[in-house]
């Protein structure tokens, strides 16, 4: 699942460590999220959206898998 997490974070000049600390996760998790290697749980996705004051769909982009 693609996301705009890195883009939004950099626009607001927030460090990965600060974002990780605010969300209660490790910096490696933020890094993996931004690289698309890890998809967050619904709970973490809500926390991220709430942190930035945005809707989940504005941050995470769900694309149908091509069969």
């Amino acid at each position: 699942m693609k996301n705009r997490l890195e883009q939004i974070r950099k626009e607001r000049a927030i460090k990965q460590e600060d974002l990780a600390h605010a969300l209660g996760v490790s910096r490696q998790t933020i890094c993996s999220l931004e690289n698309g290697r890890y998809n967050p749980s619904i709970l973490l996705a809500f926390k991220i959206a709430r942190y930035f004051g945005m809707a989940i769909e504005e941050i995470f982009i769900y694309e149908e898998e091509e069969s």
């Binding site: 990780a20 209660g24 996760v25 490790s26 998790t29 993996s32 890890y38 749980s41």
Partner: protein, 145 residues
């Protein structure tokens, strides 16, 4: 995340318990070795002594690290509760279980061919226990999740 003070107190309690248990095992093991007249259980007592010493040393090192930098406790708490780390641990545990299952099976076949009946039977029992335990946990978690 939980109150940092609670996390710190819990971590300190764990360190104290680790040091105390380590000391008890270490001293108890040495005492048992000295009191034991025969060599029957010396290896077991030695194992207890070594285990106690390990725990004692690890507890002391942990205590020193936390004293030097208390923030480590909070970092450990975050790493423990981090959902990605939990997913990694869970998957690693499952792959390890599968690998050990296959290795045990291969070992049983090898032991049967080498005519080690008792050993192969024991490993068979372990294999069955592993399978049953896995199925039980799977059934339990299916109900809860």
């Amino acid at each position: 995340m939980k109150n940092p003070l609670c996390v710190f107190k819990r971590s300190r309690a764990f360190t104290v318990v680790l040091i105390a248990l380590g000391a008890v095992l270490f001293l108890g093991g040495i005492l048992l070795v000295l009191l034991e007249r025969s060599d029957r259980y010396t290896m077991f007592y030695g194992f207890l002594t070594g285990l106690g010493l390990c725990w004692l040393v690890i507890g002391c090192i942990r205590h020193w690290r936390i004293k030097r930098n208390p923030a480590i406790v909070l970092e450990e708490e975050i790493d423990q509760k981090d959902e990605r780390h939990q997913a990694i641990r869970s998957r690693a545990g499952y792959y390890t279980f599968l690998l050990w299952f296959v290795l045990l099976f291969v070992s049983i076949i090898a032991l049967v061919f080498l005519s080690y009946k008792t050993a192969s039977l024991v490993l068979c029992g372990v294999l069955v226990l592993m399978a049953v335990t896995f199925l039980l946990f799977y059934a339990l978690l299916q109900k809860r999740m």
